[in-house]
Amino acid sequence: MSKNKTKKYEGSEHELRARTAELDELHHDVGMPAMAEALAGMRGTGRRTFLMGAGAAVAGGAALAVGTGAVPTLAAASTRRLSSVKASAFPPKGLKGDLAVAAVAASLENLAVFAYSAGLTAATQGKLGTVPPAVATFATTVKGQHQQHAAAWNAVLKSNGKAPVTVTNPTVTPTVQSDFAKVTDIAGLAQLAVTLETIAAQTYQAETSKLKSSAAIQLSSSIQPVEMQHTAILYYVLGMYPGAQTSSGTPLAFNPTSMAV
């Protein structure tokens, strides 16, 4: 994918994917000495290896659509609604209180998974120009974390005898779909990702003080900071201050909730 002529670290994509898988599966902190070795040992990042990673990511995204019918990726459906559920009918009847919040959370996570999958697909198809290796790794890793978040919320629903939520959030999906159709490069995709991550983080934050069960609060609180970490790295990639900020780029010490759904 990369047509970039600028100097960058090039190395073993296999080694890096192994590290990413380790992060995803074991949830362990990354040992910095090992990280340094990985960085120093990188060789041969190339178009083919990136495409392989992207393909695997899309396959992972497709698995989430099971149970929702033929749900297209955003890239393939920029003129269609990804979620066939009306916003007024969501969360489904029968889900009240914490369970309704769980449904909304799962739907937001599903949307994030599909957005990153679609972004990786578009990148694979060469629609976004040069894709920096770090951005490819970011999208693949973050997509995996959102899948885990969705699974966690659906586990809450399942443990309460409710069906899992496999649709994307009907309130946000149309806007994301419309915005995605306008994305032409990696910077545009990163901006869209910032919006999605911000909505998710602020929604969790707003719900933290409203949820009733300790387990739900704990889950929500354990995810909100991770979504904000995603945002920090996105800002860094965009060359912006790497933290919560106003629309004009002013750093914020307190995260707002104005974008919560």
């Binding site: 600028t6 960085l39 970011f138 933290g243 707002p256």
Partner: protein
């Protein structure tokens, strides 16, 4: 490396103004609590006992799992801190005072770091310098907000750093004196990283323990900010250890040069870990 320091300085100043505005709703919400503070200030004896027992266990667990305190002699601290049996104020006040103590420690640590030539001096990376300045300012605002909330509930402001961590921080700072600039920068980043991680983990955990909605909301509005500090420090640490400090930059085009692993090093866990969290009453005013 090529970021415009003037622009960042302007952002910092603008941020301070905006933060004052942003805090206003928080203060208003806290003000609403004052009316009911007297009725709710002292939790019933059973609740206080349960809180104490839970956090004595939590204290033991935290000390066992925290590298910093392990180095300080965890067993001694367990005994010393766990002996402060009777809760002198409500559990929420203690949570807020502990949070303030962590913020005070962070402020003093960043303040010290900024006196070092490779963090705040002419030889420092300007992005690192400005990050330290902005972050220090944010921690000061967090301390103020936590103390305002504690006072609104009838508690005292915690103006001191968390005593349990102070000796270890002092020791770490002292070791920087003989370090080379490269070693020193890594040492500062490692120390800041650990403090930020403790703060973030503590607040994540305390959103469950806090009883008042406004306190939960305050903790939630800050925990992600600390987690972002962790992300930045993880990325900086990785780039320093890889011998690529030139990539610690907000200039256009940097993303294209970043190693692939830089895309994931800033968020190692899908769910934020709380195993380094400070016990909820550890920094309470005694």
């Amino acid at each position: 490396m090529t970021a415009d320091p003037r622009a960042l300085t302007e952002l910092l100043e603008e941020s301070q103004d905006l933060q004052a505005d942003a805090l206003r709703p928080t203060h208003e919400a806290l003000g609403e609590l004052v009316e009911t503070a007297h009725a709710q200030r002292e939790d019933d004896a059973a609740a206080n006992l349960a809180f104490h027992e839970t956090h004595t266990r939590g204290l033991t667990s935290s000390l066992a799992g925290t590298a910093l305190l392990g180095a300080a002699g965890g067993a001694v601290l367990v005994g010393a801190l766990a002996s402060a049996a009777a809760a002198s104020s409500s559990s929420d006040v203690q949570i807020l005072q502990t949070a303030a103590s962590l913020e005070n420690l962070a402020v003093s640590t960043y303040k010290t770091a900024l006196t070092l030539p490779y963090i705040g001096g002419s030889s420092a990376n300007p992005v690192v310098t400005k990050f330290a300045q902005v972050t220090m300012g944010q921690h000061a605002q967090h301390a103020e907000a936590f103390n305002s909330a504690a006072k609104s509930l009838g508690g005292k402001a915690q103006t001191k750093p968390d005593a349990a961590f102070v000796p270890v921080v002092k020791k770490a700072v002292a070791s920087l004196g003989s370090a080379t600039p490269a070693q020193g920068a890594l040492g500062v980043v490692a120390l800041a990283l650990e403090l930020e991680n403790i703060a973030a983990g503590t607040y994540v955990k305390d959103t469950v323990l806090a009883k008042k909605e406004t306190n939960k909301a305050l903790l939630a509005s800050i925990m992600g900010i600390e987690a972002q500090h962790v992300s930045v420090l993880l990325a900086v640490q990785a780039l320093l250890m890889a011998g690529a400090p030139q990539l610690i930059s907000l200039s256009p085009g940097t993303a294209a040069m970043l190693p692939a692993a830089a895309g994931s090093v800033g968020f190692p866990n899908a769910f934020y870990k709380t195993n380094s969290a400070a016990p909820a009453r550890q920094g309470a005013v005694k």
